[in-house]
């Protein structure tokens, strides 16, 4: 498995650290309430299909990435810098 780092180019999977679903980019407000925080902290979808994860290019440039991949085919359709994604959300 290889991941196309937007900074370093195509690199081996061993250089990357997997963090989990890319929900951390959409952190609720501190006063959003227990229900919202419960969902944010604990409830994850487990799709057979497209999923978005946070990875870090730990063994390379160190950048955090949002990787869009398909859990059925293992195909990676997009890799973006998490900082860019966060900026686009604002």
């Amino acid at each position: 498995m290889r991941i196309e780092c937007p900074i370093c180019g195509s690199r081996d999977r061993r250089e990357f650290y997997y963090q989990g679903a890319a929900v951390a980019l959409d952190r609720p407000a501190p006063d959003a309430g227990d229900a919202v925080w419960d969902v944010y902290l604990h409830l994850r979808d487990n799709p057979a299909g497209e999923t978005r994860d946070l990875w870090q290019h730990e063994g390379g440039c160190g950048a955090w990435l949002v990787v869009t991949r398909d859990t059925v085919t293992h195909a990676i359709s997009a890799v973006e810098l998490a900082s860019d994604v966060k900026r686009a959300m604002a």
Partner: protein, 179 residues
């Protein structure tokens, strides 16, 4: 007061020469990480004015005589061979890491073959030219690799300096045995 003498991170492990490939310790003098604080243009200008160096783009390095600057990762570059000018502290996070990294020069015919056994990135001349740099892993160790005139400059955390030599030695022996 006691006179303290700086120790070489490789002790008597280097120099090493196996087959056509050699590894030599490099004393790079001052090493300073410059962290981009968000104003890349200001950092580039300060670096140019203070040290006559262009701020390297990702995966590139720049040099001005013995002073060099290599890209070290997302929003970080490493200034080599000179104490940082005071003006840089206004536009960058400046951290002295002179004793944090251990440096070697890997050179000779077959140096690419040695790295091919240790690093999961293609460093052949066709894709990795002089002045190019990258961050990767040498086995499990974080490494910075820069191609220079004589071959490759490898930087690893000082704590794994001896392990890097051990891995280089094994790869060099394997490459030499196949020639």
């Amino acid at each position: 007061m006691a006179e303290l003498k700086a120790q070489n991170p490789f002790a008597d492990l280097l120099p090493l020469k196996i087959g056509g490939v050699s590894v030599d310790a490099r004393d790079l003098g001052h090493l300073t990480v410059l962290g981009d604080l968000g104003n890349r243009a200001a950092l580039a200008e300060a670096l140019e004015q203070a040290h006559g160096l262009a701020l390297p783009e990702p995966l590139r390095s720049t040099e001005n005589g013995a002073t060099r600057c290599i890209w070290l990762g997302s929003s970080e570059v490493l200034l080599i061979g000179t104490p940082p000018d005071a003006a840089l502290t206004k536009v960058a996070a400046v951290v002295d890491v002179s004793d944090g990294w251990a440096a070697v020069q890997l050179s000779g015919v077959g140096a690419e073959d040695v790295l091919a056994r240790l690093v999961p990135v293609d460093v052949r001349t066709s894709v990795f030219e002089r002045g190019h740099t990258l961050r990767s892993q040498l086995r499990e160790m974080p490494v910075s690799i820069t191609r220079n005139e004589g071959g490759f400059l490898l930087l690893v955390p000082r704590s794994v300096a001896a392990t890097m030599v051990q891995e280089l030695r094994r790869a060099m022996e394997a490459v030499a045995s196949r020639r």
